[in-house]
């Protein structure tokens, strides 16, 4: 691991951490492991005994309609919610045991905008960096590079309420990268975005993928899963129906992922 190695000279040359290539590449390690993971709340079983493991450098998608339990799984991985039963470990650490240590190494891009409306664009990044104990000098430099990465460099001094929806999304992405995360968790990263902004987010995520950042995302867009994910877990009513690569699933069940979903669950994703 090359924690804390920022190459922040320019957005073009920017890398979360040096890309690992050839013989230097670490063997595939399970970076997130869930065993018989269960979450009950409001009298419902939101996540029903799921098992999965995610390798370092992989882009893993949770695919399913609203209420399938995707967000709840991500919340348990990001130590936001404790499991009711079963376990989930990240970097080999149980989420229940050392949440701060896990959280210092992951980035989370939430589904809803929770940018700080009392702060400007750049202050949002600096203050966020402080929660990770990033020194001011470093965080200022990093914030500028990240703003360039998400094409908001001209908006640094602007208040949050003056940003468009797409810009807020991009700023959320930049913020989630402030701590140079090894795992980036994205809850419906492009929901509610216009096609242009959606493509812009995909570009950024593909860029991160090339730099060996592990990506975990939820989505109900087939196109998104097909474009980004190495493997997808298809979820329905709190259970994982199957885990496979999008291409293999389409080979097995024909058509596109939409058809696969319909075939596996008997329901369309729009339900």
């Amino acid at each position: 691991m090359n924690r804390g190695v920022f190459r922040v000279e320019s957005a073009e040359g920017w890398a979360l951490r040096p890309a690992l290539g050839g013989k230097d590449r670490e063997p595939a390690v399970d970076i997130v492991v869930a065993r018989k993971l269960i979450k009950d709340y409001n009298g419902l079983r939101a996540v029903d005994s799921v098992d999965f493991s995610i390798s370092r450098g992989e882009c893993f998608g949770f695919l399913g309609p609203n209420g399938a339990g995707k967000t709840t799984v991500l919340r348990m991985i990001s130590c936001f919610m404790p499991p009711t039963a079963g376990s989930v470990s990240v970097f080999g650490l149980e989420t229940a045991g050392r949440p701060s240590e896990i959280k210092s190494r992951i980035g989370v891009m939430p589904q809803d905008n929770n940018l700080d409306p009392d702060l400007s664009v750049i202050e949002n990044l600096i203050v966020y960096g402080r929660y990770f104990d990033i020194r001011k000098k470093d965080s200022l430099r990093l914030a500028r590079v990240l703003l360039e990465f998400v094409e908001l460099q001209d908006k640094a001094a602007v208040q949050i309420d003056q940003l468009s929806g797409g810009m807020k999304h991009r700023l959320l992405l930049a913020r989630s990268l402030m701590n140079n995360p090894e795992i980036l968790i994205l809850d419906e990263p492009t929901t509610g975005l216009d096609p242009h902004s959606r493509r812009a987010v995909w570009d950024k995520l593909n860029h991160l993928k090339k730099k060996d950042t592990t990506l975990l995302l939820t989505t109900h867009y087939m196109e998104e899963a097909e474009k980004l994910c190495d493997r997808v877990a298809i979820m329905d009513s709190g259970k994982i129906v199957t885990i496979d690569s999008p291409s293999h699933l389409m080979e097995l069940h024909g058509g596109n992922l939409e058809d696969v979903y319909l075939k596996l669950t008997g329901r369309s994703l729009a339900d």
Binding site: S78, F80, S104, N114
Partner: protein, 251 residues
């Protein structure tokens, strides 16, 4: 809980406050000055001296105490609640290494800090009115921090149990207003039925008023009992904001 991580939360609030204070700072002076003029000079001209002091001089230390605790209460009721719900600031912070206990500690210490900021401001105002007799008033600062902490704790406890933001009017009407009126700010409680004074002994603002009054006049010994009372209550209340917030937020 790690104090450093709590401090990160405090720093966030301090940044927001210092950004806005230029526009709101004058208001900090305005409200207590209005009370002093209206009650002290207006009402005071019809009121005989209390304990050998002109009325305005009698109420001035109480205004320092009440303004400071109200600052913590506003911050940790509406302020905290808005950050927790509408702004989702808590959600954003909780996915960083800052855990819920750190976050709540940050909120509490910030609330107490707001008390100190307001307390000092009002102390300057009453000094300018010529109502401070002793330089010992400077010692009131740590006591205001204690008082602020108690009210921050109570506010966050309430924050953790309310169903919605409208419920705060109960806290203000049924708790804060009676305290404001019956803590010996505007009249000595020995003029009231014995029960009122007995009840007041169990409320925090009453003790902070005693402390502020003692230090303003330089009679430190009168404050000792109340300082002990405030310190004990800070500790006794401390677990509850954390427990109840965990119950509310961690589902």
């Amino acid at each position: 809980m790690r104090i450093k991580r709590a401090f990160r939360v405090w720093q966030r609030h301090w940044l927001v406050y210092t950004k806005l204070y230029k526009t709101s700072f004058a208001l900090n002076f305005a409200e207590p000055a209005l009370y002093l003029v209206a009650m002290g000079l207006g009402l005071g001209s019809f009121v005989k001296d209390i304990h050998g002091q002109p009325y305005i001089k009698y109420i001035a230390p109480g205004i320092v105490a009440s303004s400071s605790v109200f600052a913590a209460v506003y911050e940790c009721t509406y302020g905290t609640y808005i950050r927790m719900t509408f702004q989702k600031t808590f959600d954003a912070i909780l996915v960083t290494p800052v855990n819920l206990d750190d976050l709540i500690a940050g909120e509490l210490i910030w609330g107490a800090t707001k008390s100190v900021i307001f307390g000092i401001t009002i102390a300057i105002v009453i000094a300018l009115f010529g109502l401070v007799e002793s330089p010992l008033i400077i010692l009131v600062i740590p006591c205001i921090f204690l008082g602020g902490l108690i009210f921050a704790e109570l506010s966050i406890i309430f924050c953790a149990i309310v169903p919605g933001i409208d419920s705060f009017s109960y806290f203000y009407t049924l708790f804060m207003t009676p305290l404001f009126l019956f803590s010996g700010i505007f009249f000595p409680l020995d003029s009231m039925p014995r029960l009122v004074a007995d009840l007041a002994f169990f409320t925090p603002l009453y003790h902070l008023v005693i402390v502020c009054r003692a230090f303003t006049s330089g009679s430190v010994m009168n404050a000792l009992g109340s300082i002990v009372w405030l310190s004990v209550v800070v500790v006794v209340l401390a677990p509850f904001p954390f427990k109840l917030m965990r119950k509310r937020i961690i589902v």
